[in-house]
Symmetry: C2
Subunit: 436 residues, 2 copies
Amino acid sequence: MQQLQGASRFNRRAIKVEQAIQLVVESVKPGLQESIALWQAGGRRLAESLNATTDWPPFARSGMDGYAVRSADTMQASPDCPVTLRVLETVAAGGLAAGAVEAGGATRIMTGGAVPEGADAVVMLEQTADAVLDGLPAVQVKAAAKPGQNIARSGEEFRLGSLLAEPGTQIRPGHVALFGTFGYASVPVFRRPRVAVIATGTELLPVTASLGAGNIRDSNSAMVAAMVEQSGGVPLQLGCMSDDPEAMVTALVEAFEQADLVVTTGGVSVGDYDVMAVIIRSIREGSGGLAELQISRSRTTRLLFDKVAMRPGSPTSAAVVDGKLLLALSGNPGACFVGFELFVRPAILRLQGVAVEASMPRKVTAKLESDFDKGSPHERFVRTRLFTKEGCLHADPLAFNKSSMLASIPDADGLIRIPAGPDGLLKGTIVEVLPL
Amino acid sequence: MQQLQGASRFNRRAIKVEQAIQLVVESVKPGLQESIALWQAGGRRLAESLNATTDWPPFARSGMDGYAVRSADTMQASPDCPVTLRVLETVAAGGLAAGAVEAGGATRIMTGGAVPEGADAVVMLEQTADAVLDGLPAVQVKAAAKPGQNIARSGEEFRLGSLLAEPGTQIRPGHVALFGTFGYASVPVFRRPRVAVIATGTELLPVTASLGAGNIRDSNSAMVAAMVEQSGGVPLQLGCMSDDPEAMVTALVEAFEQADLVVTTGGVSVGDYDVMAVIIRSIREGSGGLAELQISRSRTTRLLFDKVAMRPGSPTSAAVVDGKLLLALSGNPGACFVGFELFVRPAILRLQGVAVEASMPRKVTAKLESDFDKGSPHERFVRTRLFTKEGCLHADPLAFNKSSMLASIPDADGLIRIPAGPDGLLKGTIVEVLPL
């Protein structure tokens, strides 16, 4: 096997994590829109502002099953000394009263019914008893009603034209209810970004293969595909490539034709056969590096970074090829996972119209549950469990936390950010955590 | 419109929330299984235990690009006084060494390569320099290597047969990586439960309709459908029904033929036309109540509860019809939302094989961020934002928190559980929160 890398492989300058994320997010623009049925919109990202199409509630609504009354009529009412009112009529939800509630009268009304003119309160059924007054139906009211009681006023929650949600908002079930209320049977959302996933490494076998000596199965492709789905994207799994730059360039060119974003795993470090490192270097040097690297010859390419001051995953690299983002993640599963959370997820969110700031990784603070005694020249992202105790959030770092290790990835609820420094951190320290 | 309910509508006995959840969850059994492609398995629930099919790593792997050495040979090495070793050969990832590393020798090895016999450490490339020894390729090692350094031992993470995940586990991207590593190209998962959704209420119009006086659009169906999707189920939206018990019974019978679980919204309270209350009462009384209620005549029905000691949503009801669960939620959107989180989501999880205990609503603790000065005879679930500050989780109750109100549902990150009592709670109190 021909060695690919020369001495210049070591000349990579690390940039800070925040700066790398910023470069990634700023290189991506929101994608195309489509319209989707309301009930399927949950989890998608809104593409246009939606506004209230009426006041809400649209009319004064009863919040209870009971009687619409004039509160002044009930001022003296008590369980021992109820007030008796004539029952004028009954309003079901969806119905309308024939007339107003006049002094001494009450209109039986159900939850959601339109409160008739004249009434300013609803007394719940449980505070009433059926009665007869002058041979006609009446009701005994056993408690004084306060003005406005059990009535939702027209426009109390929304005024016509009020903003319901902004572009980029992830549509939650509550939004679905809101949009339905205001008559949006379909909603404009950003299309799910197509994300090509290519694993590199001559040692990789498809998941279906039997293991040979020295080989492992490609688990990154499926993991990244699942993470793409989770972020709202559509994964295009383009399989495993061996460490052959020419074939890899061809694969990348095809990937960019199909996808909005291309993610590779593996081959980014300083190894002799690190194919993505060779391709990234040719982009950095603008020279084509290897003659066959059409990717830098016939296309507009721009390096964003080829090293990040972090562990794991410092060789993580990013470039823009003809306006589309290429994210080259480490092949170590732990580093690949961290690289996805820091760079790929924000890019996929940004493609779905999420604002630059909001597409960056979320941050929470938590108390470190045990000493972390490993220093590091770069900041370090450590997989952790999260739990609450007495109102505080605790981060308990997981074992098997090396970048090559798989075992603790499924158990991680977050990534603790351990600042660079020689000593690590003591139990009880307040740490920043990127929740998963 | 004929009134449906008589005086017995008030004879409902409230049970505690915990007991109601327990009854719901225990009435449901895990459903059928299916097999799904690995990369599509993210978010689904595993149906069988999966185990490691080999030791992992399957062989001693290099964690770095560098040189496999005998650590004893490098004991004296330092930057000023490097040790020079003969380079025996090069091992790429996926390749195998032709021979062992003997004393005084080093094998160039890439990340993921199988460490040759004889070597007990890998020195990273950055701590070496190319050299020549007796006219042959050699390497200068500039740091003493510790035994085991940069080598992942065979079986270090998993032994053949180790449990990877249990049935009911929600498959995270990390599980996908694990399963792929061990050759599971497809995985057994529980089928997505089919959940019928029926909204009741004569006042309801389809989302596409123009509002008439006294009418509102059915927003619960789409909200519940989105929540069903979010819980792993497949929503079957069966539309809106007016307050007609006969038609409603027919709709329910059809729903049970198609679905694993039936959810209704509205008509559960003490109103004159509350159709689900009538049907639930006929189940409670075992008599058929109304003659046309075939649901209680030709089928095995069992009431679980028809009142829960909580706000909002106290009239929430549940029954088992021919072994399948019927959950009748309140029609007020806020109460419907809470009822879903407390009862429907656990039922959908249980149908997907989640253990009884694990399918109950999750609990965290948080500090109440402002006074909540409203007492209640029953415990109350209050929509809240959640945020962390200095390692503590804070719950900031949202405005527009009445059960009829929609406005704050999209903003809620959790539901604070306010215990029953006359006074509410003070700012700073540690509260239990059901995270959304």
